[in-house]
Protein backbone atom coordinates (compact mmCIF):
# COMPACT_ATOMS: atom_id res chain seq x y z
CA UNK A 1 0.00 0.00 0.00
CA UNK A 2 1.38 3.31 -1.02
CA UNK A 3 1.81 6.02 1.53
CA UNK A 4 0.19 8.57 -0.76
CA UNK A 5 -1.17 7.99 -4.22
CA UNK A 6 -3.15 10.00 -6.73
CA UNK A 7 -4.65 7.52 -9.16
CA UNK A 8 -6.04 8.13 -12.63
CA UNK A 9 -6.41 11.82 -11.84
CA UNK A 10 -8.35 13.76 -14.46
CA UNK A 11 -9.30 17.39 -14.01
CA UNK A 12 -8.15 21.00 -14.04
CA UNK A 13 -9.01 24.49 -12.89
CA UNK A 14 -12.53 24.48 -14.28
CA UNK A 15 -11.75 24.84 -17.99
CA UNK A 16 -10.14 22.13 -20.07
CA UNK A 17 -8.64 19.17 -18.25
CA UNK A 18 -4.99 19.65 -17.46
CA UNK A 19 -4.53 16.19 -16.03
CA UNK A 20 -5.51 13.20 -18.13
CA UNK A 21 -5.47 9.92 -16.29
CA UNK A 22 -2.35 10.86 -14.40
CA UNK A 23 -1.02 8.68 -11.59
CA UNK A 24 1.66 9.59 -9.07
CA UNK A 25 2.54 7.78 -5.86
CA UNK A 26 5.09 7.86 -3.11
CA UNK A 27 5.98 4.97 -0.79
CA UNK A 28 7.09 5.04 2.84
CA UNK A 29 10.37 6.88 3.26
CA UNK A 30 10.86 7.27 -0.46
CA UNK A 31 11.64 10.21 -2.67
CA UNK A 32 9.40 10.43 -5.72
CA UNK A 33 10.03 13.04 -8.38
CA UNK A 34 7.77 14.41 -11.09
CA UNK A 35 9.63 15.77 -14.10
CA UNK A 36 8.61 16.88 -17.55
CA UNK A 37 8.56 19.84 -19.89
CA UNK A 38 6.92 23.16 -19.11
CA UNK A 39 3.15 22.97 -19.06
CA UNK A 40 3.17 19.21 -18.58
CA UNK A 41 0.92 19.48 -15.54
CA UNK A 42 3.61 18.62 -12.97
CA UNK A 43 2.57 21.26 -10.46
CA UNK A 44 -1.09 20.63 -11.22
CA UNK A 45 -0.66 16.94 -10.43
CA UNK A 46 0.84 17.87 -7.08
CA UNK A 47 -1.86 20.40 -6.32
CA UNK A 48 -4.46 17.77 -7.19
CA UNK A 49 -2.94 15.43 -4.63
CA UNK A 50 -3.19 18.28 -2.10
CA UNK A 51 -6.79 19.05 -3.02
CA UNK A 52 -6.27 22.39 -4.70
CA UNK A 53 -7.43 21.18 -8.11
CA UNK A 54 -10.86 19.75 -8.76
CA UNK A 55 -10.79 16.16 -10.02
CA UNK A 56 -13.45 14.86 -12.34
CA UNK A 57 -12.10 11.34 -12.18
CA UNK A 58 -9.62 9.48 -10.09
CA UNK A 59 -8.89 9.14 -6.41
CA UNK A 60 -6.32 10.30 -3.88
CA UNK A 61 -5.47 7.87 -1.10
CA UNK A 62 -3.36 8.31 1.99
CA UNK A 63 -2.35 5.02 3.64
CA UNK A 64 -5.29 3.42 1.86
CA UNK A 65 -7.82 5.98 3.09
CA UNK A 66 -9.73 7.81 0.38
CA UNK A 67 -9.12 11.56 0.85
CA UNK A 68 -10.26 12.68 -2.62
CA UNK A 69 -12.96 14.95 -1.20
CA UNK A 70 -11.06 16.47 1.72
CA UNK A 71 -10.19 20.19 1.60
CA UNK A 72 -6.46 21.03 1.75
CA UNK A 73 -6.22 21.98 5.42
CA UNK A 74 -7.79 18.69 6.44
CA UNK A 75 -5.18 16.90 4.36
CA UNK A 76 -2.56 18.77 6.38
CA UNK A 77 -4.09 17.25 9.48
CA UNK A 78 -3.78 13.82 7.82
CA UNK A 79 -0.05 14.34 7.46
CA UNK A 80 0.44 15.91 4.06
CA UNK A 81 2.48 19.08 3.79
CA UNK A 82 2.63 21.09 0.60
CA UNK A 83 5.27 23.73 -0.09
CA UNK A 84 4.20 25.95 -3.01
CA UNK A 85 6.73 27.12 -5.56
CA UNK A 86 6.18 30.85 -4.95
CA UNK A 87 4.58 32.92 -2.21
CA UNK A 88 5.49 30.17 0.20
CA UNK A 89 6.39 32.27 3.25
CA UNK A 90 4.70 35.00 5.30
CA UNK A 91 7.03 37.91 4.42
CA UNK A 92 6.24 40.26 7.30
CA UNK A 93 6.34 37.56 9.96
CA UNK A 94 9.65 36.61 11.52
CA UNK A 95 11.25 33.29 10.62
CA UNK A 96 10.18 31.84 13.94
CA UNK A 97 6.60 33.07 13.54
CA UNK A 98 6.56 31.53 10.06
CA UNK A 99 7.48 28.20 11.57
CA UNK A 100 4.86 28.60 14.29
CA UNK A 101 2.20 29.12 11.61
CA UNK A 102 3.24 25.80 10.06
CA UNK A 103 2.41 24.18 13.37
CA UNK A 104 -0.90 26.03 13.65
CA UNK A 105 -3.02 22.88 13.52
CA UNK A 106 -0.88 20.91 15.93
CA UNK A 107 -1.96 20.50 19.48
CA UNK A 108 0.65 20.47 22.17
CA UNK A 109 4.31 21.36 21.92
CA UNK A 110 6.23 21.69 18.72
CA UNK A 111 9.54 23.01 20.05
CA UNK A 112 11.18 19.69 19.23
CA UNK A 113 10.21 19.94 15.56
CA UNK A 114 11.39 23.54 15.48
CA UNK A 115 14.71 22.39 16.89
CA UNK A 116 14.94 19.81 14.10
CA UNK A 117 14.24 22.48 11.48
CA UNK A 118 16.97 24.71 12.96
CA UNK A 119 19.37 21.77 12.95
CA UNK A 120 18.56 21.08 9.33
CA UNK A 121 18.90 24.75 8.35
CA UNK A 122 21.28 26.39 10.86
CA UNK A 123 21.13 29.71 8.98
CA UNK A 124 17.49 30.07 10.01
CA UNK A 125 18.34 29.90 13.70
CA UNK A 126 20.55 32.96 13.37
CA UNK A 127 17.80 34.83 11.54
CA UNK A 128 14.83 33.65 13.54
CA UNK A 129 13.90 37.18 14.65
CA UNK A 130 14.10 38.61 11.13
CA UNK A 131 11.10 39.00 8.86
CA UNK A 132 11.14 36.21 6.27
CA UNK A 133 10.68 38.77 3.50
CA UNK A 134 14.17 40.11 4.17
CA UNK A 135 15.91 36.79 3.58
CA UNK A 136 17.67 35.65 0.43
CA UNK A 137 15.83 33.43 -2.03
CA UNK A 138 17.58 30.29 -0.83
CA UNK A 139 16.88 31.00 2.82
CA UNK A 140 13.30 31.79 2.04
CA UNK A 141 13.00 28.35 0.44
CA UNK A 142 14.45 26.92 3.64
CA UNK A 143 11.77 28.73 5.64
CA UNK A 144 9.13 27.38 3.26
CA UNK A 145 10.38 23.81 3.68
CA UNK A 146 10.55 24.49 7.42
CA UNK A 147 6.89 25.56 7.50
CA UNK A 148 6.04 22.29 5.76
CA UNK A 149 8.04 20.26 8.25
CA UNK A 150 6.44 22.05 11.20
CA UNK A 151 3.09 20.51 10.33
CA UNK A 152 4.63 17.20 11.39
CA UNK A 153 4.01 15.55 8.02
CA UNK A 154 4.24 11.96 6.85
CA UNK A 155 4.57 13.19 3.28
CA UNK A 156 6.27 16.42 2.27
CA UNK A 157 5.38 17.77 -1.17
CA UNK A 158 7.78 20.28 -2.70
CA UNK A 159 6.91 22.25 -5.82
CA UNK A 160 10.19 23.15 -7.53
CA UNK A 161 12.05 23.98 -4.35
CA UNK A 162 15.19 24.92 -6.24
CA UNK A 163 13.59 27.30 -8.73
CA UNK A 164 15.45 30.58 -8.89
CA UNK A 165 18.25 29.78 -6.48
CA UNK A 166 21.95 29.52 -7.25
CA UNK A 167 23.44 26.11 -8.14
CA UNK A 168 25.33 25.99 -4.85
CA UNK A 169 22.19 26.63 -2.81
CA UNK A 170 20.35 24.12 -4.96
CA UNK A 171 22.85 21.34 -4.24
CA UNK A 172 22.66 22.14 -0.55
CA UNK A 173 18.86 22.07 -0.57
CA UNK A 174 18.81 18.70 -2.33
CA UNK A 175 21.17 17.26 0.28
CA UNK A 176 18.74 18.48 2.95
CA UNK A 177 15.82 16.90 1.14
CA UNK A 178 17.62 13.56 1.19
CA UNK A 179 18.25 14.05 4.91
CA UNK A 180 14.55 14.72 5.49
CA UNK A 181 13.59 11.55 3.67
CA UNK A 182 16.08 9.56 5.76
CA UNK A 183 14.23 10.75 8.87
CA UNK A 184 11.24 8.75 7.62
CA UNK A 185 9.26 11.44 5.83
CA UNK A 186 8.21 10.54 2.29
CA UNK A 187 8.96 13.19 -0.32
CA UNK A 188 7.06 14.00 -3.47
CA UNK A 189 8.66 16.75 -5.51
CA UNK A 190 8.37 18.52 -8.82
CA UNK A 191 11.62 19.53 -10.44
CA UNK A 192 12.99 21.25 -13.49
CA UNK A 193 16.53 20.01 -12.98
CA UNK A 194 15.51 16.50 -13.88
CA UNK A 195 18.94 14.96 -14.14
CA UNK A 196 20.09 16.00 -10.71
CA UNK A 197 16.98 14.97 -8.81
CA UNK A 198 16.40 11.71 -10.66
CA UNK A 199 19.79 10.66 -9.32
CA UNK A 200 18.48 10.84 -5.77
CA UNK A 201 14.93 9.68 -6.53
CA UNK A 202 13.62 6.24 -5.68
CA UNK A 203 10.89 6.76 -8.21
CA UNK A 204 10.36 9.14 -11.05
CA UNK A 205 7.42 10.18 -13.18
CA UNK A 206 7.78 11.84 -16.54
CA UNK A 207 4.64 13.76 -17.39
CA UNK A 208 3.67 15.33 -20.66
CA UNK A 209 0.37 17.03 -21.38
CA UNK A 210 -1.05 15.77 -18.12
CA UNK A 211 -0.29 12.14 -18.89
CA UNK A 212 2.19 9.66 -17.51
CA UNK A 213 4.77 9.18 -20.22
CA UNK A 214 7.29 7.11 -18.32
CA UNK A 215 7.64 6.01 -14.77
CA UNK A 216 10.11 3.91 -12.92
CA UNK A 217 13.00 4.13 -10.53
CA UNK A 218 15.19 7.20 -10.86
CA UNK A 219 18.11 5.20 -12.20
CA UNK A 220 16.07 3.45 -14.84
CA UNK A 221 14.67 6.75 -16.08
CA UNK A 222 18.11 8.31 -16.15
CA UNK A 223 19.38 5.45 -18.29
CA UNK A 224 16.31 5.13 -20.49
CA UNK A 225 17.24 6.14 -24.02
CA UNK A 226 13.95 7.70 -24.84
CA UNK A 227 13.71 9.72 -21.63
CA UNK A 228 17.25 10.92 -22.16
CA UNK A 229 16.54 11.95 -25.69
CA UNK A 230 13.34 13.84 -25.01
CA UNK A 231 13.91 15.36 -21.57
CA UNK A 232 17.50 15.17 -20.51
CA UNK A 233 19.09 16.47 -23.65
CA UNK A 234 20.74 13.25 -24.87
Amino acid sequence: MSRLVGQHMTGGYGGADILNDCTVAVEHGEIAVIVGPNGAGKSTAMKAVFGMVGLRKGTVRMDGEDITRLPPHERVAKGIAYVPQTDNVFPSLTVEENLEMGAFLRRGGFSETMEQVYELFPALRDKRRQPAGELSGGQRQQVAVGIGLMTGPKVLMLDEPTAGVSPKVRDELIVRVVEISRSGISILMVEQNARQVLAIADRGYVLSQGRNLFSGSGEVLLLDREVRKSFLGG
Binding site: H73, A77, P84, N88, S92, L93, M101, L105
Partner: protein, 247 residues
Protein backbone atom coordinates in the same frame (compact mmCIF):
# COMPACT_ATOMS: atom_id res chain seq x y z
CA UNK B 1 6.31 85.57 31.21
CA UNK B 2 4.76 86.44 27.89
CA UNK B 3 6.38 83.41 26.41
CA UNK B 4 4.92 81.09 29.07
CA UNK B 5 1.55 82.71 28.62
CA UNK B 6 1.72 82.15 24.90
CA UNK B 7 2.63 78.55 25.45
CA UNK B 8 -0.36 78.08 27.72
CA UNK B 9 -2.71 79.65 25.22
CA UNK B 10 -1.33 77.31 22.59
CA UNK B 11 -1.81 74.33 24.92
CA UNK B 12 -5.31 75.33 25.82
CA UNK B 13 -6.65 76.02 22.37
CA UNK B 14 -4.51 73.81 20.18
CA UNK B 15 -2.48 71.10 21.82
CA UNK B 16 -4.90 69.64 24.34
CA UNK B 17 -7.95 69.52 22.03
CA UNK B 18 -5.79 68.35 19.14
CA UNK B 19 -4.29 65.52 21.16
CA UNK B 20 -7.75 64.35 22.14
CA UNK B 21 -9.10 64.69 18.62
CA UNK B 22 -6.02 62.93 17.27
CA UNK B 23 -6.56 60.12 19.74
CA UNK B 24 -10.17 59.70 18.64
CA UNK B 25 -9.12 59.64 15.00
CA UNK B 26 -6.32 57.20 15.79
CA UNK B 27 -8.73 54.79 17.47
CA UNK B 28 -11.00 54.87 14.46
CA UNK B 29 -8.08 54.60 12.06
CA UNK B 30 -6.66 51.64 13.93
CA UNK B 31 -9.70 49.56 13.07
CA UNK B 32 -9.77 50.93 9.55
CA UNK B 33 -6.14 49.94 9.02
CA UNK B 34 -6.77 46.50 10.44
CA UNK B 35 -9.57 45.95 7.93
CA UNK B 36 -7.46 47.38 5.13
CA UNK B 37 -4.50 45.13 5.89
CA UNK B 38 -6.27 41.90 6.68
CA UNK B 39 -9.44 42.05 4.58
CA UNK B 40 -7.79 44.19 1.92
CA UNK B 41 -10.35 46.85 1.21
CA UNK B 42 -11.12 50.40 2.27
CA UNK B 43 -14.01 50.16 4.67
CA UNK B 44 -16.18 53.14 3.80
CA UNK B 45 -18.82 52.26 6.36
CA UNK B 46 -16.37 52.73 9.21
CA UNK B 47 -17.60 56.16 10.21
CA UNK B 48 -21.14 54.90 10.38
CA UNK B 49 -20.05 51.90 12.37
CA UNK B 50 -18.74 54.50 14.83
CA UNK B 51 -22.07 56.32 14.73
CA UNK B 52 -24.00 53.10 15.28
CA UNK B 53 -21.87 52.11 18.26
CA UNK B 54 -22.20 55.58 19.74
CA UNK B 55 -25.94 55.53 19.21
CA UNK B 56 -26.38 52.24 21.07
CA UNK B 57 -24.14 53.53 23.83
CA UNK B 58 -26.19 56.72 24.10
CA UNK B 59 -29.47 54.80 24.25
CA UNK B 60 -28.14 52.56 27.02
CA UNK B 61 -26.69 55.62 28.78
CA UNK B 62 -30.10 57.27 28.80
CA UNK B 63 -31.62 54.14 30.29
CA UNK B 64 -28.94 54.06 32.96
CA UNK B 65 -29.30 57.78 33.67
CA UNK B 66 -33.06 57.29 33.89
CA UNK B 67 -32.53 54.51 36.43
CA UNK B 68 -30.22 56.78 38.40
CA UNK B 69 -27.07 54.75 37.82
CA UNK B 70 -23.85 56.77 37.70
CA UNK B 71 -20.14 56.16 38.08
CA UNK B 72 -19.32 59.20 40.17
CA UNK B 73 -17.15 61.72 38.38
CA UNK B 74 -16.86 59.61 35.21
CA UNK B 75 -19.41 59.76 32.41
CA UNK B 76 -22.16 57.13 32.65
CA UNK B 77 -21.49 56.34 28.99
CA UNK B 78 -18.48 54.30 30.10
CA UNK B 79 -20.86 51.83 31.74
CA UNK B 80 -22.89 51.64 28.56
CA UNK B 81 -19.83 51.26 26.37
CA UNK B 82 -19.61 47.43 26.54
CA UNK B 83 -23.21 47.21 25.32
CA UNK B 84 -22.39 49.56 22.45
CA UNK B 85 -19.31 47.55 21.54
CA UNK B 86 -21.22 44.29 21.70
CA UNK B 87 -24.03 45.58 19.51
CA UNK B 88 -21.59 47.01 16.98
CA UNK B 89 -19.59 43.81 16.87
CA UNK B 90 -22.80 41.89 16.16
CA UNK B 91 -23.71 44.43 13.50
CA UNK B 92 -20.30 44.13 11.85
CA UNK B 93 -20.44 40.34 11.91
CA UNK B 94 -23.96 40.46 10.52
CA UNK B 95 -22.90 42.80 7.71
CA UNK B 96 -20.00 40.50 6.96
CA UNK B 97 -22.19 37.42 6.89
CA UNK B 98 -24.88 39.10 4.80
CA UNK B 99 -22.79 41.19 2.43
CA UNK B 100 -19.00 41.09 2.54
CA UNK B 101 -18.58 37.32 2.74
CA UNK B 102 -20.37 36.85 -0.56
CA UNK B 103 -17.92 39.16 -2.33
CA UNK B 104 -14.90 37.82 -0.45
CA UNK B 105 -15.65 34.28 -1.62
CA UNK B 106 -15.84 35.52 -5.19
CA UNK B 107 -12.50 37.24 -4.64
CA UNK B 108 -14.01 40.58 -5.62
CA UNK B 109 -11.55 43.35 -6.44
CA UNK B 110 -10.83 45.89 -3.67
CA UNK B 111 -12.55 48.65 -5.64
CA UNK B 112 -15.73 46.60 -5.80
CA UNK B 113 -15.50 46.06 -2.06
CA UNK B 114 -15.24 49.83 -1.61
CA UNK B 115 -18.49 50.30 -3.48
CA UNK B 116 -20.10 47.51 -1.49
CA UNK B 117 -18.99 49.06 1.80
CA UNK B 118 -20.29 52.43 0.60
CA UNK B 119 -23.66 50.73 0.20
CA UNK B 120 -23.44 49.41 3.74
CA UNK B 121 -22.50 52.94 4.81
CA UNK B 122 -25.71 54.44 3.40
CA UNK B 123 -27.86 51.74 4.99
CA UNK B 124 -26.19 52.20 8.37
CA UNK B 125 -26.40 55.96 8.21
CA UNK B 126 -30.09 55.79 7.40
CA UNK B 127 -30.63 53.35 10.24
CA UNK B 128 -28.87 55.55 12.77
CA UNK B 129 -30.77 58.68 11.74
CA UNK B 130 -34.03 56.75 11.80
CA UNK B 131 -33.48 55.51 15.32
CA UNK B 132 -31.96 58.50 17.07
CA UNK B 133 -32.80 61.33 14.70
CA UNK B 134 -30.46 63.63 12.81
CA UNK B 135 -30.14 66.24 15.55
CA UNK B 136 -27.42 66.96 18.08
CA UNK B 137 -27.39 64.67 21.12
CA UNK B 138 -25.54 65.31 24.32
CA UNK B 139 -25.08 62.47 26.74
CA UNK B 140 -22.06 63.53 28.75
CA UNK B 141 -22.51 63.69 32.50
CA UNK B 142 -20.38 63.36 35.58
CA UNK B 143 -17.47 65.69 36.21
CA UNK B 144 -16.75 67.72 33.11
CA UNK B 145 -13.27 69.05 33.79
CA UNK B 146 -10.10 67.86 35.42
CA UNK B 147 -8.32 71.20 35.19
CA UNK B 148 -10.42 74.35 35.01
CA UNK B 149 -9.15 77.58 33.56
CA UNK B 150 -9.89 79.61 36.67
CA UNK B 151 -8.30 77.12 39.07
CA UNK B 152 -5.26 76.95 36.86
CA UNK B 153 -4.94 80.72 36.91
CA UNK B 154 -5.24 80.85 40.68
CA UNK B 155 -2.77 78.02 41.09
CA UNK B 156 -0.10 79.49 38.89
CA UNK B 157 -0.93 83.15 39.10
CA UNK B 158 -0.77 83.42 35.33
CA UNK B 159 -3.28 85.48 33.37
CA UNK B 160 -4.04 82.65 30.93
CA UNK B 161 -5.63 79.34 31.87
CA UNK B 162 -5.73 75.74 30.66
CA UNK B 163 -8.79 73.55 30.56
CA UNK B 164 -8.51 69.81 30.37
CA UNK B 165 -11.78 67.90 30.18
CA UNK B 166 -12.50 64.39 31.40
CA UNK B 167 -13.24 63.06 27.88
CA UNK B 168 -9.89 64.39 26.69
CA UNK B 169 -8.00 62.51 29.35
CA UNK B 170 -10.11 59.40 28.83
CA UNK B 171 -9.37 59.58 25.11
CA UNK B 172 -5.65 59.74 25.64
CA UNK B 173 -5.69 56.85 28.10
CA UNK B 174 -7.93 54.75 25.85
CA UNK B 175 -5.81 55.43 22.79
CA UNK B 176 -2.56 54.45 24.46
CA UNK B 177 -4.13 51.35 25.99
CA UNK B 178 -5.71 50.30 22.70
CA UNK B 179 -2.51 50.84 20.72
CA UNK B 180 -0.40 48.89 23.20
CA UNK B 181 -3.05 46.20 23.56
CA UNK B 182 -3.47 45.67 19.85
CA UNK B 183 0.28 45.60 19.33
CA UNK B 184 0.65 42.97 22.03
CA UNK B 185 -2.24 40.97 20.60
CA UNK B 186 -0.83 40.95 17.07
CA UNK B 187 2.75 40.31 18.09
CA UNK B 188 2.31 37.74 20.84
CA UNK B 189 -0.88 35.73 20.66
CA UNK B 190 -1.55 32.79 18.39
CA UNK B 191 -4.71 34.39 17.02
CA UNK B 192 -2.92 37.69 16.44
CA UNK B 193 -0.09 36.02 14.59
CA UNK B 194 -2.51 34.04 12.48
CA UNK B 195 -4.20 37.33 11.54
CA UNK B 196 -0.89 38.75 10.36
CA UNK B 197 -0.17 35.53 8.50
CA UNK B 198 -3.56 35.74 6.79
CA UNK B 199 -2.88 39.38 5.87
CA UNK B 200 0.50 38.41 4.41
CA UNK B 201 -0.54 35.41 2.39
CA UNK B 202 -4.14 34.19 2.59
CA UNK B 203 -3.54 31.10 0.43
CA UNK B 204 -0.63 29.85 2.47
CA UNK B 205 -2.51 30.65 5.67
CA UNK B 206 -5.40 28.55 4.43
CA UNK B 207 -3.08 25.68 3.49
CA UNK B 208 -1.51 25.89 6.96
CA UNK B 209 -4.91 25.28 8.48
CA UNK B 210 -5.63 28.84 9.62
CA UNK B 211 -9.39 29.31 9.63
CA UNK B 212 -9.89 32.40 7.48
CA UNK B 213 -13.49 32.90 8.60
CA UNK B 214 -12.35 33.04 12.19
CA UNK B 215 -9.64 35.58 11.35
CA UNK B 216 -12.20 37.71 9.55
CA UNK B 217 -14.55 37.57 12.53
CA UNK B 218 -11.85 38.62 14.96
CA UNK B 219 -10.97 41.55 12.70
CA UNK B 220 -14.58 42.74 12.68
CA UNK B 221 -14.99 42.43 16.42
CA UNK B 222 -11.80 44.38 17.13
CA UNK B 223 -12.60 47.02 14.50
CA UNK B 224 -16.15 47.39 15.83
CA UNK B 225 -14.87 47.75 19.39
CA UNK B 226 -12.34 50.40 18.44
CA UNK B 227 -14.85 52.26 16.28
CA UNK B 228 -17.41 52.37 19.09
CA UNK B 229 -14.79 53.51 21.57
CA UNK B 230 -13.64 56.27 19.22
CA UNK B 231 -17.21 57.32 18.47
CA UNK B 232 -18.26 57.49 22.11
CA UNK B 233 -15.17 59.45 23.13
CA UNK B 234 -15.72 61.87 20.29
CA UNK B 235 -19.36 62.22 21.30
CA UNK B 236 -18.42 62.87 24.91
CA UNK B 237 -15.76 65.36 23.93
CA UNK B 238 -17.95 67.25 21.50
CA UNK B 239 -21.44 66.01 20.75
CA UNK B 240 -23.14 63.27 18.81
CA UNK B 241 -24.60 64.13 15.47
CA UNK B 242 -25.03 61.32 12.92
CA UNK B 243 -23.89 63.41 9.95
CA UNK B 244 -20.56 64.25 11.57
CA UNK B 245 -19.70 60.58 11.64
CA UNK B 246 -20.97 60.12 8.14
CA UNK B 247 -18.45 62.60 6.87
Amino acid sequence: MDFVNGLIVLCNFVMVPATAYGGQLALGALGLTLIHRVLRFQHFAHGDMMAFGTMVTILVTWVLQGAGVTVGPLPTALLALPAGIGATALLALGADRAVYRFYRRRKASPILMVVVSAGVMFVLNGLVRLVIGPGDRRFADGERFIVRAREFKEMTGLPEGITVSVPQVLTLAATITALAGLHWFLARTRTGKSMRAYADNPDLAFASGIDSERVVMVVWVIAAGLATLAGVLYGLDKSFKPLTYFS
